[in-house]
């Protein structure tokens, strides 16, 4: 009896132990993960000069920032900094660095290296891609070998949001680089110079001394495949393991084939932006706002990836103003237009203002989902009697067209930082991508007050007021909180993706 009891305890313990061990054992060491990269050149070998999200994936493999925003906990988590203090007046950020972190060339991480990395990025004579992220910083002080302080020009409580795209490099590698060498980070992988082919692919090999543990994968290959259809064929063929930015419409088919989608997003958004210097009548803007069927757009153009957006504050967060909103209501749109006296007198389906048919200029970007959404919105607006005409342009010409005001309305996808969780930067008059084409001093004052206020309740009040103005003045038609997707093949595992789309924790990726 006693024997059998001990035997039972032994068996149960063994099962529990195996249960604990199996997931760990499942992670295989070795192998090469192949990522399809949709561009025409491989990412820059220098993380600090990367300018797009796709390239920032690779930057994240080569180098680490001080901290990172964690989607799951909705908080900032340590990376190269183990902790940080923010002074009570919000003007001083002190970071305590991790001890014993090695760069790929064997040099140890110090506060000096962090300071030099930041100074390089914000060099006024040659600003790098992240210079804007450091623009709130006035001076940088090295307090001791493992402590650095950033002194702000003014209070900027969201500064930590800027820091996860500021990668730290070993200063010797960018100040006096040996010929043919690349800059050196302290990330889980390092560039293999002989296999860096700018027009084809780049190969990263594991850095066994990585501070968070030896990476599972031996290598990661980044292969340029500009065409999505080709990349998906390679994924199905098994010659590629990960495809960045798949289409929601392909997901059911790919999932049936055993592919693994990684859906991500937070403050990734899409709106119908409105040129306020052209569409000056708030009644017309409101009619546009109520005519847009957000759910239909998500289902019709984006394969169901996304959530309807009713206001600019991200749902369920500390600043969302649930008292205001713009849900799809075509009858309300028609009522507003009727009340304004804009009727369709010639019965062609389009209303007239002062005898002239409403015909809004609606440029779009030459990309399948973008075009589909634009055409759907055109139809939605037509149903309430608003006419539009569409033109198509490539990515950058389209963006610039909207930025410089050559449009009446436009479908616009973008993303803000994770904190504060609000779709706002296109209304900030200080921004390069401020697209609304009008001076909005009250809104601007509120934006600046909100971003320089330490007390969260007061900030929330500012942001709620901003949302009220945006909806009541119908400065844009809220569209969707869009979700995006990366697709992993059946053999790839362990990838985590930040809200921006950047995949991280590459030391824990593995291939089974």
């Amino acid at each position: 009896m006693r024997y059998s009891r001990w035997a039972s305890v032994f068996v149960v313990s063994l099962v529990l132990l195996l249960g604990l061990l199996v997931p760990a054992m499942a992670q295989v060491r070795g192998g090469t993960l192949v990522i399809a990269y949709q561009s025409n050149t491989v990412p820059e070998p220098d993380p600090q000069v990367t300018r797009n999200i796709g390239a920032q994936w690779v930057a994240e493999m080569i180098a680490d920032p001080l901290l990172r925003y964690d989607n799951a906990t909705e908080s900032f988590v340590p990376v190269l900094a183990t902790s940080w203090d923010i002074s009570e007046d919000g003007l001083h950020y002190t970071f305590h660095l991790r001890e014993g972190v090695l760069f790929h060339n064997g040099v140890t991480l110090t506060a000096e290296a962090v300071a030099k990395s930041y100074e390089r990025i914000r060099d006024a004579a040659n600003p790098l891609a992240g210079a804007g992220l450091l623009s709130p910083v006035d001076t940088i002080e090295v307090l001791d070998p493992l402590t650095i302080r950033l002194n702000m020009k003014s209070v900027f409580p969201d500064f930590l949001s800027n820091m996860d795209r500021l990668w730290i490099l070993e200063p010797g590698s960018f100040t006096n680089p040996p010929a043919g060498s690349y800059v050196v980070g302290c990330g889980p992988f390092r560039i293999v110079p002989a296999e860096y082919k700018i027009d084809q692919s780049m190969v990263l090999e594991k850095f066994a001394q990585y501070w968070a543990g030896e990476p599972y994968l031996d290598k990661i290959q980044i292969r340029i495949i500009p065409d999505m259809a080709t990349a998906l064929i390679e994924l199905e063929q098994g010659t590629v393991d990960v495809v960045q930015y798949g289409s929601g419409k392909d997901l059911p088919r790919l999932e049936a084939l055993g592919m693994q989608p990684i859906i991500f997003g937070r403050v990734n958004w899409a709106n119908v932006v409105i040129n306020l210097s052209h569409v000056t009548d708030v009644r017309l803007r409101k009619a546009i706002m109520y005519a847009v069927d957000q759910q239909a757009l998500i289902d019709g153009a984006y394969g169901g990836l996304g959530d309807p957006m009713y206001r600019m504050g991200y749902p369920g967060t500390w600043l969302e103003n649930t008292k205001v909103g713009a849900a799809y209501d075509p009858e309300e749109a028609k009522r507003i237009l009727d009340e304004a006296g804009w009727k369709d007198t010639n019965k062609d389906g389009i209303r007239e203002i002062d005898g002239k048919e409403i015909d809004l200029y609606f440029p779009t970007r030459n990309q399948a989902e973008w075009v589909a959404a634009t055409q759907m919105i055109q139809q939605m607006l037509r149903e309430v009697g608003i006419g539009t005409h569409i033109t198509m342009a490539e990515r950058m010409p389209f963006y610039d067209q909207v930025r410089t005001g050559d449009y009446d309305i436009a479908w616009w996808l973008s993303n803000d930082s994770a904190e504060p969780p609000i779709a706002l930067y296109t209304w900030d008059m200080r921004e390069y991508w401020c697209v609304h084409q009008a001076k909005t001093p009250v809104l601007q004052l509120l934006i600046e007050q909100a971003e320089s206020e330490l007390d969260r309740d007061t900030r929330s009040a500012y942001y709620q007021e901003i949302q009220r103005i945006l909806i009541e003045e119908a400065y844009a038609a809220p569209g969707m909180w869009n979700k995006q997707v990366h697709v992993m093949g059946p053999k790839a595992h362990g990838m985590l993706v930040a809200s921006t789309g950047i995949a991280y924790n590459s030391h824990l990726w593995w291939k089974g």
Binding site: D199, D227, T230, I233, P397, Y432, W433, T500
Partner: protein
């Protein structure tokens, strides 16, 4: 002959100068600011006017357009094509790295076109209105009208995904290696298809015209075998217009690489120029168009020289 070649080279230089000038100013007229590429709209802000001004100054985009043009010409005279605004790398280096891939693809595409068009065109002419002639007519129509990106994807679905015989994309190693050959088959066939139809029809019509000529009847009357009549007497004369069109087709194929290189992830200039256009990266577009034009000019000078050599009626004057 040398005088003729020098004259043609000088004309070629004038053509290049014209292309450079047109491309430079048409890029200035196109909407958009190249600096926008450095501050992507998708990245969620963070760019203030001081940073934008600093970036413009760095790439000389804050200067008047005419000054930018003169600086570009001055640098061009020193074979300096400038630096890409997007990557901050020398454009000349990037073009040199990519030109072999484009050249390889164009030559292989042309080879595919000639290898199909020549025999099929000859047989179609010799057996006019036969089943083969009718099939070749359909084939010519199909290869001319099917969009190359679509043909490329169809080939990929069949040979890469279903049969798993060929890699879907990329370029691997030397062309004479098995791996290199496997990688170029589909891009070359897709590219070659663009020229196959036209060449096939041209060979057929040129052959038909020659086959009716009196001197061929004389050759037959002399008792020569039909094969000798066709290949030794008819084909050589029929090829004269084909060579001219072949030269022009090189231009079509060089232009066609823009699509094929994107679909098959082929690391050539075509893909580079598309990327430059989308990014509004002035130096990249200018450099790539210049390189493609240079290739076209050189091939056509060569064709003119060969033409004179092949056809004794044409002289170097």
């Amino acid at each position: 002959m040398w005088g003729y070649i020098v004259r043609r080279l000088l004309t070629g230089i004038l053509v290049l100068f014209g292309v450079v000038t047109i491309v430079f100013f048409s890029l200035q007229l196109a909407p958009g600011d190249p600096i926008s590429m450095l501050i992507p709209a998708e990245a969620g802000g963070g760019a203030n006017p001081e940073i934008v001004a600093a970036l413009k100054a760095k790439y000389g985009l804050d200067r008047p357009v005419v000054v930018q043009y003169l600086i570009y010409l001055k640098n061009l005279a020193r074979l300096d094509l400038g630096r890409s605004i997007s990557t901050d790398r020398p454009v000349g280096e990037a073009l040199l790295a990519r030109y072999p891939a484009t050249l390889e693809l164009t030559v292989c595409g042309l080879l595919v076109a000639v290898l199909i068009a020549l025999p099929v065109g000859i047989i179609s002419a010799v057996r006019q209105n036969s089943v083969i002639d009718n099939i070749s007519r359909v084939l010519a129509l199909a290869t001319t009208s099917i969009p190359s990106f679509w043909l490329g994807l169809l080939l990929m679905l069949l040979f890469s995904l279903q049969l798993r015989w060929l890699p879907a994309s990329g370029r691997a190693g030397a062309l004479w290696s098995w791996d290199g050959l496997k990688h170029i088959i589909m891009p070359a066939v897709t590219l070659g298809a663009m020229a196959t139809g036209i060449l096939m029809r041209l060979v057929r019509s040129a052959m038909l015209e020659v086959l009716r000529a009196d001197y061929l009847n004389t050759a037959r009357a002399k008792g020569l075998r039909e094969r000798t009549v066709i290949y030794r007497h008819a084909l050589r004369n029929a090829l004269i217009p084909v060579i001219t069109v072949l030269g022009l087709q090189v231009g079509t194929l060089l232009g066609g690489t823009v699509v094929i290189e994107t679909v098959f992830a082929w690391p050539g200039i075509g893909r580079y120029v598309i990327w430059g256009i989308m990014a509004k990266d002035f130096p990249v577009v200018q450099g790539a168009v210049l390189a493609l034009t240079l290739g076209f000019v050189i091939v056509n000078i060569l064709v003119d020289v060969i033409y004179c050599a092949v056809d004794p009626r044409v002289t170097y004057s």
